[in-house]
């Protein structure tokens, strides 16, 4: 994979990594720090990339692990991200029922741990399959299915019962 230049890697992948980690941490500086950490790891080990999976999956795997370790180290919880996203959804042209549902989802996602928040974002936002998620998280597909089911059940319950205010 030595033919990939730093410019190509940054152009093709930095935005994806930044967008994902921005959904987990609220402070832009934290998102930039994690993105830089991820890209540095990619540059250092690009010659070891064997091509077992797509380069995108490989980079998401590094991003997943780096985001978790960064949040644990700095004691960041997913709760912190919700101030911004709640405002964004409230600003949109949604009807009040939809807004209430989105606020309910914000609250539900806020209660998830970093790992689950990353998983649900990769599934819904990045549209990753269970197989890809298993590669990114280094877990079995059945484990991913169980985790996703648990998270979705939690979100469904919140949607059915309405937001807790």
């Amino acid at each position: 994979m030595n033919e990939l230049s730093a410019q190509q890697i940054v152009d093709n992948h930095s935005a994806q990594v930044f967008a994902l980690v921005s959904r987990i941490v609220s402070r832009r500086e934290d998102a930039e720090e994690i993105t830089q950490d991820v890209l540095l790891k990619v540059f250092r080990s690009i010659d070891k990339f064997r091509g077992d999976s797509s380069i995108s999956t490989w980079i998401y795997r590094i991003a997943y692990n780096s985001a978790i370790s960064h949040c644990r180290k700095k004691g960041i919880k997913t709760t912190e991200l919700n101030e911004q996203t709640t405002l964004d959804s409230a600003d949109g042209e949604h009807n009040s029922e939809r807004e209430a549902q989105y606020i309910a989802l914000e609250q539900a996602i806020a209660t998830l741990g970093v790992e689950d928040a990353l998983l649900i974002n990769l599934f819904y936002y990045k549209k990753m399959s269970v197989e890809e998620l298993a590669k990114v998280t280094s877990q079995s597909q059945s484990n991913i299915k169980v985790r996703l089911h648990r998270i979705r059940t939690k979100l469904h319950n919140i949607l059915s019962n309405g937001p807790k205010r």
Binding site: N2, E3, I9, V10, L39, D47, L105, L159, S160
Partner: protein, 126 residues
């Protein structure tokens, strides 16, 4: 997909996508170029060390084979240098000579392979 699942999917779709700043991207490119260059240098110096070790071992093996070809009495050489002759020298069996030949061959192959891959690397970079 049930209604609740659709709401969840729509929720994730409508969230704004954060974009990295131009400054961050430029910094990442600079860091990337620097890191990739450092890694390449490290690889080169590592392969240089291996070539050095392999060359030394290979030259020793070749020297031994030359001595063997010209029938040099190694025990006498050691004695002439007033150094106690190692037992292996006085016990040069044909099996041991074969090991030296194999060592010389392996070294030649290792050096050849390293030089070839280094050449291919530099060609692909150009």
């Amino acid at each position: 997909m049930d209604q609740n699942d659709k709401i969840i999917a729509d929720y994730f779709d409508q969230l704004p996508e954060a974009k990295p700043s131009r400054e961050l991207q430029e910094r990442l490119v600079r860091l990337g170029e620097q890191t990739i260059a450092e890694r390449a240098e490290l690889r080169q110096s590592r392969s240089g060390i291996w070539i050095g070790i392999a060359s030394t071992v290979g030259l020793c093996c070749i020297a031994m084979l030359i001595f063997r070809y010209f029938g040099v009495d190694l025990s006498a050489m050691w004695s002439a240098m007033k150094i106690e002759s190692p037992t292996t020298v006085s016990m040069m069996t044909s099996e041991l000579w074969a090991w030296f030949a194999l060592g010389a061959l392996a070294t030649a192959m290792l050096i050849g392979y390293t030089l070839l891959t280094r050449r291919l690397h530099s060609d692909s970079r150009q």
